[in-house]
């Protein structure tokens, strides 16, 4: 039960949020030009890191905004939070 600092609302309990998995996997602009393998890479492959992971989170029971979180999946420590479209902090 960790606390997430929503960039729009402030600190809220984790139960208000839902996690959307790995961040910065951009939907290909021209999917039709991709091979099956390239499309599968976008569609299915996720790193699922133990450690520092860049993730998408949604304040589902609040402002409903999506944003990015840098979280250590081994201890839930949050290292950074930034809005969609903003540059990720350097690793």
């Amino acid at each position: 039960m960790f606390i997430i600092n929503c960039p729009y609302c402030g600190e809220r309990d984790q139960s208000e949020f839902s996690c959307g998995g790995e961040a910065h996997i951009e939907r290909p602009k021209q999917p039709t030009e991709l091979s099956d393998d390239q499309w599968a890479e976008y569609l299915f492959m996720r790193k699922n890191i133990k450690g520092i992971q860049f993730e998408r989170w949604n304040h589902a029971h609040g402002c409903r905004k999506w944003f990015n979180v840098v979280r250590d999946t081994s201890n839930d420590k949050i290292h950074a939070i930034y809005k969609m479209g903003e540059r990720p902090p350097l690793k």
Binding site: F2, Q30, L34, L43, N58, W66, N75, K77, G85
Partner: protein, 1003 residues
């Protein structure tokens, strides 16, 4: 009552208030302040239960939450009886009734005791090995195991007690009210921090509060007197909340903790009335101080489990705190100085300590010298090789240890005693630290695991003996030093404490003490609750188990309700010794919450009765209830399912409704369909991207059916979307999919396509939808909205009109999910019930018939329309559904498009949607039934399954939809639906059964 084992001492027990209670039906007396365990011991009752596997007599062993043996059932009221309660934690109250568990017919004569003699047949993994095969015997095994294991009885009636939840936020939470917790609380409170101190006992001060010995002094007072003053002084801090009888259950990340406060379990039945029994505290603390202390270890030797064998420190607490003698002739067995403190306490209270058996060769500490001065016999370098006495220890056999400690030498000495105290050293209570994510390190010198401060979650600290500080001076100095850093304190009131204490000079540790007999002939118990011995651990290792987690499960060591608090360390030690591994490298098993068992009542609190989940009802719901509707749950919605008349069965009602809807008019409450208002200059482009078909050319005032896919190409949701204006659409979704569709669309808008000017608003609740279908629907709508031109030319199928009913704006769509000429009236929900009633009145002359979801499903199945979630299951593409027509082939992209020609999605042998007709038109298939071609070829190959099946009153025959492998190519093919007692012959058909030419839409 036999001998009186109570001494006159009134510090903690009020001997003026006598309390009567019953144990196994026998009426007994104790005093206010007793626990059930101390009162039983005062009545000279040690034997309280039988062990789990061998049914050996077991007695009270400890005085706290680590108790493995004295597990009792409290009360016999069917709604409040509580099993598996530790007698050491039950506060005595007038009228308390407790019962032994795990023994039948009685604790003194137990049939399962025969297992003790069969014990060579019950080694580690016995249950796994024996009860695995054959599987068909499992029911018999289960009966045997349950009958003989007989853990406590659950209540059979609903719990009538009240439970509560409360949130708390604080600067500092201190867990544990022993001396280190008190020091921490005082420093935090003095600094002005908002502080909470919790302790599971009904008093503060831990074991120091009864440590009255001049070997332990603080500022020239004995430690207990000094601490008493400090505790009394805590009242002066308004910013300090003290919660006694409160045990910490779980320590989650970000300092979120759960603690259970017992409010009435110590009160008698009258005092309990109308009070909250337990309160679950949900605490968010900025900082947490863990001061949970340590528990004494037993020693592992042959027959170390007899009633009358207690932890040495427990004997000390029973005499010093409760004024109860655990026996009249006590021996102590130790590997450290703690037993000497016990000996001094017993001696002071006039109890005979006949011998101390110490596995060390010597010691010169203050405590040892004091004991020697008293004149108690000490056998240095000796061990106990056996104990005697069945229901109570009678004597012990002692021999000298060999130099390497692996065997015994010399003559066997027999010593009589009616009680034996054992002390194997101390184990820091690191459970909460590890629960919170902290990692442990092994301290070789003391044979303990302690918190590794370099691998600790932030904003918490462990102080006192749970951090491995056992000597009073170290404990105080380190606690103050660490708390000062942790709370950022400058000078404190404790900066110049003068602490004097006895220091341990010698250490010797032997995890498994030798006997004069072979190990296989002995019973050195490790896990007293689960009856596993050191032999079991060794057997597991011989059988190839290596990981501590596997050994634990195989031998069940540490898997009882006490989670092996006493002996996990010995199990690890024996594994390390046997395998030649360093204990630090072995690691420990995982300690999981709750630290002590929680009641279900405290977990649910006041959330009892109705489900907490919302129940959503449409604005017309009351009318449905008044008109005898049966309801079904669709997500959170209550939807009218069918409207039986005059004792109709569901089948009869649905047949009547379905026929009426096609013959005259039917009316359906479709308000639960999801409705999303879409606005913005890019709304059309947005729809192009989320639906498979094209939207840019949809004229204002027109409606279009859309199919939405997942990015993997599988059908996700469907519904009709209407263009209300240039940049304004209203989308409908399935009832169950509404929330998910909105979230998914929001996700794309915010993250993938932030450049689109589109706004989504859910209006599901704001608008209600009344659907009127059938050949007479036009007549009815005409009566309600006379001004609206309903001609096909003005208002054709798949179009929409803004209109008014009695001056209330409404949207009327001419769309159909039944294949009939039909209208959907969308109106603000406040007016919906009135409009519905108006429709009913207007439709009376046309036999308007209200129908529910079941008829809706039947009617659409006649037309072959899919229901996402019923005919689809997330594995079907539009092509699999024979809906290729809805793919906008010219569209460059839409969600899921690229997946439609992945190698897997273009396979021709995918499961595809087909229609089915039964050979016998009266035979209705079961939904979910399998389809096969050749019933005789084994194994029978399953080609697909039935997804929807009804008896069609309009076609007067059974119809079904199914998904079948390569179904598209199988039209006309005969298949078999094998059922339990017959095979049903079916033929694959087109999916549209009724009005294939769609003539009725304009009828």
């Amino acid at each position: 009552m036999s001998k009186n084992l109570r001494i006159n001492k009134n510090n903690f027990i009020d001997q003026t208030i006598r309390i009567s209670f019953k144990f196994n039906g026998q009426k007994l007396f104790g005093f206010k302040g007793d626990t059930l365990a101390s009162a039983l011991l005062a009545n000279n009752i040690h034997l309280v239960g039988r062990s789990f596997k061998y049914h050996r007599p077991r007695g009270i062993m400890t005085c706290g939450s680590e108790e493995p043996n004295a597990i009792v059932q409290i009360g016999n009221d069917p709604s409040s009886t509580e099993p598996n309660v530790r007698a050491t934690e039950v506060e005595l109250y007038e009228g308390l009734e407790a019962f032994s568990q795990n023994c039948w017919p009685s604790v003194n004569f137990d049939i399962g005791g025969i297992n003790n003699f069969l014990s060579p047949l019950l080694p580690a993994g016995f249950y796994y090995k024996t009860f695995m095969w054959p599987a068909s015997f499992w029911e018999k095994y289960e009966f045997f195991i349950r009958h003989s294991a007989g853990l406590g009885k659950s209540p059979t009636k609903p719990d009538t007690d009240l439970y509560d939840h409360q949130y708390a936020h604080c600067d500092v939470l201190i867990i544990g009210g022993g001396i280190s917790g008190i020091l921490s609380a005082k420093l935090a409170a003095e600094k002005g921090l908002n502080t909470i101190l919790i302790d599971d006992k009904n008093y503060l001060g831990g074991s120091t509060i009864y440590q009255e010995d001049d070997c332990f002094k603080i500022n020239n007072d004995t430690s207990n007197k000094w601490l008493k003053k400090e505790i009394d002084n805590l009242k002066n801090y308004p910013n300090l909340l003290i919660k006694n009888r409160t045990s910490l259950a779980a320590f989650h990340g970000y300092n979120y903790l759960l603690a259970r406060e017992n409010l009435t379990d110590h009160l008698n039945a009258n005092e309990r009335k109308n009070k909250i029994r337990q309160r679950l505290w949900k605490i968010r603390a900025k900082k947490v101080v863990i001061a949970t202390g340590s528990i004494e270890r037993p020693l592992i030797f042959n027959n170390n489990d007899r009633p009358g064998i207690l932890l040495s420190s427990s004997i000390k607490k029973y005499i010093d705190f409760f004024g109860v003698k655990s026996g009249n002739e006590i021996s102590l067995f130790t590997n450290n100085d703690s037993a000497y403190e016990t000996a001094i306490s017993l001696n002071k209270s006039g109890v005979k300590v006949n011998t101390i058996i110490d596995i060390r060769e010597n010691s010169t500490s203050l405590l040892v010298k004091k004991v020697q001065k008293i004149g108690i016999n000490i056998l240095w370098g000796h061990t106990i090789v056996n104990t005697n006495g069945y229901k109570r220890i009678k004597s012990i056999n002692v021999q000298k240890l060999s130099a390497d400690g692996e065997s015994v030498v010399g003559k066997k000495i027999k010593i009589n005693c009616d009680c034996l105290g054992m002390s194997g050293g101390w184990t820091p209570m690191v459970h909460l630290f590890t629960q919170s994510g902290g990692k442990l390190k092994f301290k070789d010198k003391d044979y303990i695991f302690i918190p590794d401060m370099n691998k600790s979650p932030s904003s918490q600290i462990s102080v006192g003996s749970c951090n491995g500080n056992f000597e009073l001076d170290d404990l105080i100095t380190n606690t103050i030093k660490n708390i000062k850093i942790f709370l950022d304190l400058d000078k404190t009131i404790y900066d110049s404490l003068n602490v004097v204490c006895s220091k341990e000079t010698e250490k010797r540790n032997i995890w498994l003490l030798p006997s004069d007999k072979q190990l296989s002939k002995t019973k050195p118990f490790l896990d007293f609750q689960n009856d596993s011995t050191a032999k079991d651990i060794k057997l597991a290792l011989r059988e190839g188990f290596k990981s501590i987690e596997h050994v634990k499960r195989y031998t069940t060591t540490g898997m009882g309700t006490d989670q092996g608090k006493l002996s996990n360390m010995h199990a690890l030690g024996i594994i390390a010794d046997t395998t030649g591994t360093n204990m630090g490298d072995l690691g420990t098993t995982t300690f999981r919450p709750p630290f002590t068992p929680l009641t279900f009542g405290s977990i649910v609190g006041r959330n009892v009765g109705e489900f907490f989940d919302h129940t959503r009802k449409t604005a017309i719901h009351d009318w449905h209830v008044e008109n005898n509707a049966k309801f079904e749950n669709v997500g959170q919605w209550k939807r009218a399912w069918y409207f039986p008349e005059n004792n109709e069965t569901m089948f009869q009602a649905v047949q009547r409704e379905s026929k009426a809807a096609r013959d005259g008019a039917g009316i359906l409450d479709a308000s639960t369909l999801g409705k999303i208002d879409i606005q913005g200059t890019d709304a059309s482009e947005f729809l192009n991207r989320v639906y498979t078909n094209a939207w840019s050319k949809l004229a204002i005032g027109k409606c279009r059916y859309g199919l939405m896919l997942n990015e993997d190409g599988m059908v996700y949701d469907d519904g009709v979307t209407t263009r209300l204006g240039e940049n304004h659409y209203i989308m409908t979704t399935t009832t169950g999919g509404a929330a998910n569709v909105l979230s998914k669309l929001e996700d794309y808008l915010q993250t993938e396509w932030p450049e689109l000017d589109v706004y989504l608003t859910t209006v599901t609740d704001q608008y209600s939808t009344i659907s009127i279908c059938g050949p007479r629907s036009k007549n009815i709508v005409k009566k309600i909205i006379p001004d609206l031109d309903l001609s096909d030319a003005n208002f054709p199928h798949m179009s929409f009109k803004n209109s008014k009913i009695d001056n209330v704006n409404c949207r009327v769509m001419r769309i159909s999910f039944t294949g009939e000429h039909s209208y959907e009236i969308n109106i603000q929900s406040n007016y919906a019930k009135d409009v519905w009633i108006k429709c009913m009145e207007a439709g009376k002359e046309f036999n308007i018939t209200p129908y529910g979801t079941e008829t809706m499903h039947l009617l659409r199945a006649e037309k072959g329309f899919i229901i996402t979630g019923q005919d689809t299951d997330g594995t079907l593409t539009p092509s699999d559904l024979q809906m290729d027509w809805i793919i906008g082939k010219k569209k460059y992209d839409f969600i899921g498009k690229r997946s439609l020609y992945r190698s897997d999605t273009i396979r021709e042998d995918r499961k595809q949607l087909v229609g089915l007709l039964t050979e016998d038109p009266l035979e209705v298939l079961e939904e979910g039934a399998q389809l096969v071609e050749d019933i005789n070829k084994k194994p029978v190959e399953m080609l697909g399954h039935v997804t929807s099946s009804y008896f069609s009153p309009n076609l007067k025959k059974s119809i079904a939809l199914a998904v079948v492998r390569s179904g598209k190519k199988m039209k006309g093919k005969k298949l078999i639906v094998p059922m339990e007692n017959k095979n049903i012959n079916v033929t694959i058909t087109d999916t549209v059964f009724y009005d294939k030419e769609n003539k009725r839409l304009n009828a």
